[in-house]
Amino acid sequence: MNDFRLIMRNLFGSRSRFALTLVGITLGITALVVMISLGTGLRTQIDKQASDLGANLVVTPKGWCAYEQVKVLSGNQLPDAIPPEELVKIEAVEGIETLPYLTVGSAIENEPVPVTGILMADTVEMKRWSVEKGDVPTDGTPTILAGSSIAESFDLAPGDPVTLRGVEFTVAGLIAETGTRDDAVLFIPLDVAHEVYETDGRVSFVAIKVDDVSKVDLAAQRISDAANVAVVSDKQLLASVLSVVDSVGTTLRIIAAVAILTAAFGIVNTMLMATFERRRDIGILKSIGSSNARIFRLFLFEAGAYGFIGGVVGLIVGVIASRLITPYIASNEFTAFVGSATVDAIPPFSQMGLILLGSVVVAAVAGVYPAMRAARLTPVEAISYE
């Protein structure tokens, strides 16, 4: 016999109580893992998306908020807010390459799909896309370059007809998987998009590649001077979007913390019940030589064991839940990033270790008061309890 075995015997002595207490802590940890997974997934994907934008600067209409900036990275539909005359002024600035984007939408088989008008050859080059099937569409023709996941979803292949806004397009090529939101978008030539969507040459935003990266600030200043637009660097854009994501993440973590706190009170309750129910056992242990400190330790470790077992189960359930929930979360346009990031959306092992440690510590802290009560019982008082 040793302390560990005795703790395990006590822990599993009342299976229903053990299971019910475990459910509480497991739910708390599961919630925390899911929340962290989603937060991590969002962050990772936004980071990746920003680096894949292939731009040093992004030109947006004045007054856009972070929510719209998220959409710049997510490829979701944005207003066609930059007029052609401003675009001409931007293109006239020296030392930069411009890539205008017109983000619109359509539907295939009654399912909404994101559509983006781009300058085909320039964008393919700047984004370093690999066209694995078919060819890069030619500007001016009603053709489509499809992302890998959307092509798979609708079983698209080069030569297939697709109707967008009543106009028949032909799939010209498929982009090899990029691991970004681009995989879920249909790209069409910008001039055709203007025509089909009747935007009078307006675009949603413009990605800018500066020839000399040491002069990014200068280029930004020149664009602001030349046109009535807002210019943000890729880093500013990323920081702005991440601040929104972080605030969402903080809210999610608070929810998880409340769940864990509730579970901690469940442990306090269970351990107090155990102290009461096992009064006589405490007396027996003391009569055969257990010290108060030993009783305190046994009860404290028992509470900690709830945290450990609940933590392990919570981590497993949390990882599974993250994988199952991600596709549903991804259907929300604001959190769409996680859609292609299920693997990244699981917290790293170091973080899981910290969660487990936190679970044990919370449970042990919850066990301090009941353990003190148990240790303070006098042997005669405890042993005389009927």
């Binding site: 016999m1 040793n2 302390d3 075995r5 005795l6 015997r9 006590n10 002595g13 006589r280 056992d281 007396g283 027996i284 242990l285 003391k286 009569s287 055969i288 030589g289 257990s290 010290s291 108060n292 400190a293 030993r294 006098t378 042997p379 005669v380 042993i383």
Partner: protein
Amino acid sequence: MNSIMKVQGVHKTYNGRSVPTTALRGVNLEIEAGSFTCLVGPSGHGKSTLLHLLGGLDRPCEGSIEAFGQRLEHMSDAELARFRAHKVGFVFQFFNLLKGLTVAENVEVAMMFAGLPAKEQSKRAAELLESVGLGDKMKARANELSGGQMQRVAIARALANDPDVLLLDEPTGNLDTVSEGEVLGILDELHRQGRTIVMVTHGAEVAARAQRIVEVRDGRVSV
């Protein structure tokens, strides 16, 4: 014979919620090594309280208790726990086994508190259970046993750390005649082997086996 336990002028009062209850009033008693002493007397007159004080389960309000050269009333809680683990073995009327543990584990747990390694615990538990006729019940749960068997496990547990004194609080009070005979037989044998025994009992026949009978009445003792 040399005295191993010496009680001098011990008073014990319990502070209940309404009125204090005095259990012992100036008790003097000596227990000699290898003796078999029975504490007899009416219920509620202080027999069990005296036994608890001898075993370091409780502290006197006044007076002194010397056991093996140490004053129990001066010991810290931790020292008293060590005293209970090494020097005395308790057996109670209602067996007081840990129901979630097996028979062997109930014996081993006492050795665990005395710091015996797990391997030695198992070996000694097997020997002790064999000696009380329960060698075949080691893996059984404590609550699967009859009253007599449970009390024999309690005796094995009390002997686990080879204590100098066995303190028994009405060990046969909850047993049928056959089981009572078995338990008393074991106690006789332990006494023959030189073990010091102090037993609280109501039964005159049980008390008759003792070398010395001490009557506890109204918190006072008379030999």
